[in-house]
């Protein structure tokens, strides 16, 4: 065997000329990909660039229209996720694939539970689960706990353990860290590096550039369903990579902030000693007209609860909420959106909380503002149309029409619809719950501009983000939460990555910086 032949040895996995269409939309066009054992291969691209489709084809969730896949140089095709799993390809999906009512151990061993006399051997299953959890660095999760009782970040760890339990040769992680706390991310990275040294091939999909810089050996960028470039990690600068992803010049991610002195207006939204069980303690804050206030801290320290409490979703809150200086009781979203407070909440999960996916773009857009365009419960279609057109133009929502299901739009455009449906009410207070999660870079930029424009137009904005860069780039002030309390308030130039992380871990407080 000559050296040339060894060089030509096929990679562990190869994909050639793979295409996939959904109806008339090309999701993937002539895609190719080589995956090597012992490598971490990052896949980059905006939402709708075809990454998800690529993964779904590899994992047997959908079938490709054309093209072929080779594993160890042999042609393969998967009829189902089970077939892909049997071939040694495991996937940690962005949308969790855990079964909520089953226990952690049941979930980890779900694909092929150990059996004795044809029945599931629970003791053996538990051993498998414990081993997998340990490998994923999540020994704190009890194998008998029901998945639905676990917080999101723990579930994500179970998901990773589950993928590992199938002893894969290729492990695909699709936005696997998006719900994790900082501590878990570090653990997961250590696990991934160990797996690489054990000879696994890893495909890593993430929107977080610094994660990719830390982990990846090779990067492939996708755009509009085609692979644009593959290169060794570290050979391109961040802005070059982003340019490849969005296909245009990358500049000015964040709009300029107005000088601090400009914000001297009285507080529009104020809360005093807000409490809710042991999840929110003694929260006092105020947001002025025209101000963007960020909520920082590790994931799950009460930020989401705070937004929900302000929006009237949580019963049994204590303390007081003041709008324009006057105390108000807000006991439901209906009360929160009413004209006196004119609040809007952009929820965490657009697919279940923000939108009705099968309904049309039009119906979704006007859903929260029907009272503005109707009289006596009867909808004025002209007024509705006008408002919708205005919003579609304002936010540059890309859609094939107003009468197609909103579920057919790309993730970024769906999120724009969620925001637009609230902007139709001309809200004076806007609460945002991690609005850029899973959104492509281009749309993110538009969001940042929009936030600032809203603030400039006089809205008070309270903005929770898991991405520190966003807090630094967008916010006039940042409140850092730890264990349901505000532990630090950062303002202007003091909002730095270091300050955010230090206060998120509550280092100053002298307490252990453990994650949830």
């Amino acid at each position: 065997m000559t050296t040339a032949e060894i060089e030509a040895k096929p990679p562990l996995f190869r994909m050639e000329g793979v295409s996939k269409r959904y109806g008339g939309v090309r999701a993937l066009e002539n895609a190719k990909l080589d995956v090597e054992a012992g490598h971490i291969h990052a896949i980059l691209g905006e939402n709708g660039a075809g990454k998800s489709t690529l993964i779904k084809i590899m994992a047997g969730v959908v079938a490709a229209d054309e093209g072929r896949m080779l594993l160890d140089g042999r042609d393969i095709s998967f009829r189902s996720p089970a077939a892909a799993s049997a071939a040694g390809i495991a996937c940690v999906f962005q949308e969790l694939s855990l079964i909520p009512d089953l226990s952690v151990a049941d979930n980890i061993a779900i694909a092929d539970p150990p059996r004795r006399f044809g029945l599931i051997d629970r003791r053996a299953q538990r051993a498998i689960a414990e081993e997998a959890l340990a490998r994923a660095g999540a020994e704190d999760i009890h194998p008998r706990a029901a998945v639905k009782d676990l917080p999101l970040s723990r579930r994500q760890m179970v998901e990773i353990a589950k993928a590992l339990a199938s002893k894969p040769r290729i492990l695909i992680l699709d936005e696997a860290t998006s719900a994790l706390t900082a501590g878990d991310v570090a653990k997961v990275f250590a696990v991934l590096k160990r797996l690489r040294s054990e000879g696994l091939a890893l495909l890593y999909i993430s929107h977080r550039m610094h994660e990719i810089a830390e982990l990846a050996d090779t990067c492939t960028v996708f755009r509009n369903g085609r692979n644009v470039a593959s290169f060794r990690a570290g050979t391109r600068s961040n802005s070059e990579v982003v340019e490849m992803m969005i296909g245009r010049e990358y500049s000015n991610v964040f709009p300029p902030k107005p000088p601090r002195a400009a914000i001297t207006k009285p507080p529009r939204l104020e809360c005093r000693n807000l409490g809710w069980g042991d999840r929110l303690r003694d929260i006092s804050l105020s947001v002025a007209e025209g101000e963007v206030v960020g909520l920082g801290g590790l994931d799950g320290q009460g930020q989401r609860d705070l937004l929900l409490a302000l929006f009237g979703v949580l019963p049994g809150t204590t303390g007081s909420v003041l709008i324009d200086g006057a105390p108000m009781t807000i006991a439901s979203p209906a009360a929160a959106r009413a004209s006196r407070s004119a609040m809007a909440l952009i929820p965490e999960d657009r697919k279940t909380e923000g939108l009705m996916l099968p309904m049309t773009v039009r119906e979704n857009l006007s859903f929260a503002a029907l009272d503005h365009v109707s009289r006596g419960g009867i909808i004025d279609r002209t007024a509705e149309e006008q408002l919708i057109d205005e919003m579609v133009r304002l936010l540059a929502i890309k859609t094939a029409g107003l009468d197609i299901p909103v579920g057919a739009l790309s993730g970024g455009n769906q999120q724009k619809v969620v925001i637009a449906k609230w902007l139709m009410r001309k809200p004076r207070i806007v609460l945002l719950n991690d609005p850029t999660r899973g959104i492509d870079v281009g749309t993110k930029q538009e969001m940042y501009q929009l936030l600032r424009r809203l603030a400039d137009a006089g809205a008070a904005i309270l903005f929770y983000s898991t991405d520190y860069d966003e807090l630094i780039g967008c916010c006039d002030r940042v409140l850092v939460l730890y264990d349901g309390r505000i532990v630090r308030e950062l303002e202007g130039r003091d909002i730095t990555e270091h300050a955010l992380i230090a206060s998120a871990l509550n280092v100053e407080g002298g307490r252990e910086g453990a994650a949830t």
């Binding site: 079964i99 089953l102 779900i110 694909a111 539970p113 599931i120 029901a146 009782d149």
Partner: protein, 326 residues
Amino acid sequence: MSEWRYWLNEQRGTLMGLAIFLLMFAVYIANHPAGLTANVAQTAANKGVLFAFVAMAQALVVITAGIDLSVGMIFILTNCLASWIVVGEPLPTALGLVAVLAAGMACGAINGLLVIYGRLQPIVATIATGAVYFGLALLLRPFPGGSVNEDVADALTGRLFGVIPSSLVALAAAVVLVWLPFRRSRLGRAAYAAGSSEQAAFMSGVPIRRGKFAAYTLAGLLAAMGGLFLTFFTYTGEAAYASGSGYTLWSIAAVVLGGVSLYGGRGSAVGAIFGAFAARTTGDMLFVFDVDPLWQPLLQGVVLMIAVSIGSLALLRVRNRLDWFQ
């Protein structure tokens, strides 16, 4: 949390069903003129067992997040069938028993095929098959009649060792031979997984279709067991529409009382048995309290209403209003 707390958490629905039943049964016995004698237990068991079989059948399907509105009609159809073929010498009787059970399984399997491979919504698909099964029952028994091997019937509805109602033993056998193996099998887990989150189950490579199919088929089998027992009690077959739809509707009430979630993925057939016995005791209770039979349906309705409303007490503990929508 220690191990037993996890166990408690897993079995909460079933234990709740057991508690409701025990409470009602205790009130019933306390007010029964004869108290808890073997006779009283036998009567109570025999009445409850019919219902328990149908409720178990319903539970299997409900666990997959489906519903079987034909379960009462399978029960009636197998009753009519049994009144023809479970007769005569031991061998024909045995063959007849097997045939009746097979017929029930076939009915369940048809439901399963329509729901899984036909991709029809369970509610409407089983409404339609229910009409067909009832039509078949009517074809078999346009008028009430027929007979059954009385030795077998008496043996299965009598008492074992003079104390234990043998119908209860048969029910327990069904639990041990049908339900427990199913629950512990890969297919049973697939049924739970499909009921809890079909999308996640699919992504996890769970054999969803086979799991659901097994659940529907076994539901047919259990309904047929109920149909057999009905024949054993009445010695006849009758295509009674009201009885069939009544059993269907009350089986839904029973699974809910027994802690099986109508949204799927949670609960057990054992809970459904307790639910069935509890619902059954309601009727008996009116008897011991000497209520005018005219008032019986109303009181049953009110008790049912109260029982299902108790579940909503959990709402008081809801700390996040979004939890309403799960």
